[in-house]
């Protein structure tokens, strides 16, 4: 196998791992805040999830470029926290403007979620993980996309389950966040079960 082929293969494995076994939400708990508040309805959850996939894939790549070609040559690696946040915020703002102008319909379904994303720790977390794990550019594509899809899957599944919870009798103190967390724990168990597939 040539070098690029090996990289692409690695990117696919990373993508699969990011979706299931290393799900950014269920194993590292990033993006919990919108997770508990937005996961009440499947429709809103899928809107937010879609926006996360898109923004996460693009910003990890942008941040990879910024890190590799700006921060490393300048020896300012510790500035990545600030630079990544600025890039994420600017990107989200830019996308919001573009779809507002060219596709009002998409703006209505996706646009309202974009501001929420800037403060989503999963987005920044994905970029920080990418730096620490020293991913190459191709692997970063797989990672950013996979992490986004993993988050999407988790929030959709949660919203689906929570819609049914409305009818159930739950102890008073456990209602709301409590029961959400227990379900998330059960989901995390199921997702970790995919580990064996990776060999």
């Amino acid at each position: 196998m040539n070098a690029v082929g090996a990289e692409v293969w690695l990117a696919m494995v990373t993508c699969f791992a990011a979706i299931f076994t290393q799900n950014i939400l269920l194993t590292t708990f990033l993006g919990m805040c919108p997770f508990t508040s937005v996961s009440r309805e499947v429709k809103t959850a899928s809107g937010l999830g879609g926006a996360v996939i898109f923004v996460m894939t693009c910003t990890t790549l942008l941040n990879w470029l910024a890190y590799r070609y700006v921060l490393v040559p300048l020896e300012l690696e510790f500035f990545r926290f600030i630079l990544f946040i600025i890039i994420i915020a600017a990107f989200v703002q830019f996308v919001e403007m573009v779809i507002d102008r060219y596709s009002p319909k998409l703006y209505q379904s996706l646009g309202i979620f974009l501001p929420l994303i800037t403060v989503n720790c999963a987005i920044l977390g994905a970029s920080l993980f990418m730096v620490i794990r020293e991913y190459s550019f191709i692997v970063t594509i797989g990672w950013g996309f996979g992490a986004g899809v993993g988050w999407f899957l988790a929030i959709i599944a949660m919203a689906g389950i929570r819609q049914r919870l409305n009818e159930s009798r739950i102890p008073e103190g456990l209602r709301g966040p409590g029961i959400t967390l227990i379900i998330a724990g059960l989901m995390a168990l199921a997702f970790i079960g995919f580990t064996g597939v990776l060999n």
């Binding site: 990033l30 508990t36 926290f81 995390a188």
Partner: protein, 206 residues
């Protein structure tokens, strides 16, 4: 929020009444992942509490000069400033811990609690109350996460802060492997929220 809130009340609010974790499960993202070992959690919580207190103080100090429309940017900058200091210090003086915590130190920046306190309290109050408010909000948050980590390390590994505990490290106790894995954090947090909410409900009823 009235500006003349007595110090004692600020402390109580941060620790118990307005505790952000029980109320809305806010801000756990950056820390929950490292709660499988008490020591990591402790370092993370101390960092977070210091960053919150110092950021609140700085935001409060700058409040008269900061234009309203760019205040979020200024707050992010201030928070990031303190987080980078913590990150640099850990890297230089405690490299092992810095490796253990990995990206989670950086993720303190996106912790909703800090931004929330800066926005809700520090932006409109003098430095001293702002500092105390930040400090005690951070502590209220820390005590929940520390409780989780004690739970997880003791049941999952039979030790606390790395020291083997009597009974839990003997053959009488089977380590709950699930507790050191990620799902354990969800279950531990859910139990603690359940407990505290139930106590609170009794409080409000009586």
């Amino acid at each position: 929020m009235s500006p003349a809130k007595p110090t004692r009340q600020i402390m109580l609010d941060g620790l118990w009444r307005d505790n952000p974790i029980f109320r809305q499960v806010l801000g756990i993202c950056s820390t929950l992942a490292v709660t499988n070992v008490v020591l990591n959690t402790l370092v993370m919580c101390v960092s977070l509490t210091l960053v919150t207190a110092m950021s609140c103080m700085t935001v409060s100090l700058l409040r008269d000069w900061t234009p309203k429309n760019i205040r979020m940017m200024v707050q992010t900058l201030v928070i990031a400033f303190y987080v980078i200091i913590v990150d640099l210090m850990l890297k230089a003086y405690w490299p092992q811990m810095s490796r253990n915590l990995g990206p989670f130190v950086g993720l303190i920046i996106t912790n909703c609690i800090i931004m929330g306190r800066c926005e809700a309290f520090a932006g409109a109050n003098p430095m001293r109350p702002a500092f105390i408010d930040g400090l005690f909000s951070g502590m209220g948050y820390s005590f929940v996460l520390l409780a989780i980590s004690v739970f997880r390390e003791l049941f999952g590994m039979g030790s606390l802060l790395g020291y083997n505990m009597p009974y839990f490290s003997t053959a009488y106790w089977d380590n709950w492997i699930i507790m050191v894995m990620p799902p354990g954090a969800f279950f531990a947090l859910a139990s603690i929220i359940w407990l505290c909410r139930s106590i609170k409900m009794r409080e409000t009823k009586s």
